[in-house]
Amino acid sequence: MKKITIDPFTRLEGHGRIDIFLDDEGNVANPYLRIPEFRGFEKFCEGRPVEELPRITTRICGVCPSAHRMASAKAVDAVFHVEPPSAAKKVRELYYSAHMCHSHIAHFYVLAAPDFVLGSTAEPAERNLLGLIAKLGLETGMEVIKHRAYAPDIQAVIGGKATHSVCGLPGGVSKAITEDEHCDFEEKSKSMVEFSKL
């Protein structure tokens, strides 16, 4: 029985390997997905002060850490029976919206688009973000890079760091937003909306 092995699988967040077994006609008989990675958050989060968890669980995934931060912050709010004030909820929502933009731009341009723009048969050395920029031209490439940076910039201002930010506390956020930051966010957000229409 012929076996095709894809090790590791690429252009997504996560570790894995796929073994595909083919029958005599060359058709897929059975594929197996193997996840060789396990870090054990379920165990090592035990014993940590609960208010620390929003800054630990982000490490479940460094590509979507804000989703884990937000889920953990909400869980911790519930543990303390506290309802964040309206301003804090809005700051959290702004932060999470910035994450959505960051994640979608990263997913499309870094992970998925190379297949569509360069084709699934392109060489691995070409079929990636750098190949994509070469194909689209530097001007478009710089627009992609600029707008991919805007969303993490907003996250970093609110959360200290773009990846694994630290702003979430039980009952709210640790930092207010200044008027200047507000204006900057608004400008960047509008620019991202225009970029999305390209």
Partner: protein
């Protein structure tokens, strides 16, 4: 100058280090000018067999992120070491053991029991754990061996440089890219970042005040201008290498030490205990009973998990005995 060959790999990691490399933005084009990326699973489709087919020392520089916990991670660390002239432990997990290193408070069986049996979202009455070999109709399928103890990269292979941080900052990654472009790498063994403790670059004011109470971060609204530790909030700054620009502290949240110990400090947690002891309960210290002092120190919750948040595997005592 001939183009460099660059490999980037993730081991027991979250992908945040890989995103940090994307976060250098337009500088990624400079990377593309000076180097061909020959392996980078998050962004390029090169496979393990491509690496295995390379001659030894063919890769000029390998940025390895993530801790080492499984037989497969050790194999790949050794494979990339053999194929690379220069190995960089990139980010807290490769440098110190990182957040996954907190696993060293338990062992393999405890972690599996918790995740695969006790977990509220698991239905596993037969207590099936991941097996290193599983027989299926077509073949024998293998999973890596999962060890009791998490290791940093340097505990598995020789490492030339360390890029600290969870994740590393853009200026520090840029510093490495510039050094590569100029062909001007620092002495082997260099940990990038500052040579001083984080307190040296912290914008908050220190008043050499003593404290008699420790607050958890949510129990107090700290003065934004003053040292967090001197307001009674555990901040690992005194036991942490600078170079991060105090990014968490600027968001009013105390440091948890992701840059590891500063030069000259062997054990980050021991240094932190000493830093707390030197400001806590000093008023009339001679008149305080041992029980009272113990009660003061016990206000610090989960000291091991806080002082060794990012560096348990590389601490002097690197795991719990079970």
């Amino acid at each position: 100058m001939a183009k460099l060959k660059l490999a980037i790999y993730w081991s027991a990691s979250c992908g945040g280090c890989d995103v940090a490399i994307l976060d250098i933005n337009e500088k990624i084009l400079q990377v593309a000018e000076i180097a061909d990326i020959v392996f980078w699973p998050i962004a390029l489709d090169f496979k393990r067999h491509h690496v295995e087919a390379m001659p030894d020392k063919d890769i000029d520089i390998c940025l390895f992120n993530g801790a080492v916990r499984t037989s497969e991670q050790e194999e790949i660390a050794k494979l990339l070491r053999a194929k690379s002239k220069t190995m960089v432990a990139f980010g807290s997990c490769a440098h110190l053991g990182g957040i996954p290193g907190l696993s060293n408070f338990s062992n393999r069986v405890q972690a599996f029991e918790r995740a695969y049996v006790e977990s509220q979202s698991c239905d596993n009455p037969d207590k099936v754990f991941p097996q290193s070999v599983t027989n299926v109709a077509e073949d024998e399928l293998e999973l890596p061996e999962w060890w009791d103890t998490v290791k940093a990269l340097t505990q598995v292979v020789d490492v030339e440089y360390y890029i600290p941080g969870c994740p590393p900052t853009v200026p520090i990654i840029s510093q490495l890219v510039d050094a590569l472009a100029a062909g001007n790498l620092p002495p082997v063994g260099t940990v990038f970042g500052s040579d001083k403790a984080l307190c040296e670059e912290c914008p908050r004011t220190k008043e050499e005040k003593t404290i008699d109470k420790i607050y958890r971060p949510h129990e107090i609204i700290p003065d934004p201008e003053k040292c967090l530790l001197e307001q009674g909030i555990i901040c690992i700054g005194p036991a942490t290498r600078g170079g991060c620009e105090a990014r968490c502290i600027k968001a009013n949240i105390p440091c948890r030490g992701c840059f590891g110990p500063p030069p000259g400090v062997t054990d980050q947690g021991a240094k932190m205990v000493s830093a707390i002891a030197s400001i806590l309960g000093l008023e009339n210290e001679k008149d305080l009973s041992a029980e009272y002092v113990e009660r003061l120190m016990n206000q610090a919750k989960d000291p091991a998990g806080t002082f060794y948040r990012f560096g348990l595997p590389t601490a002097m005592i690197n795991r719990k005995r079970i």
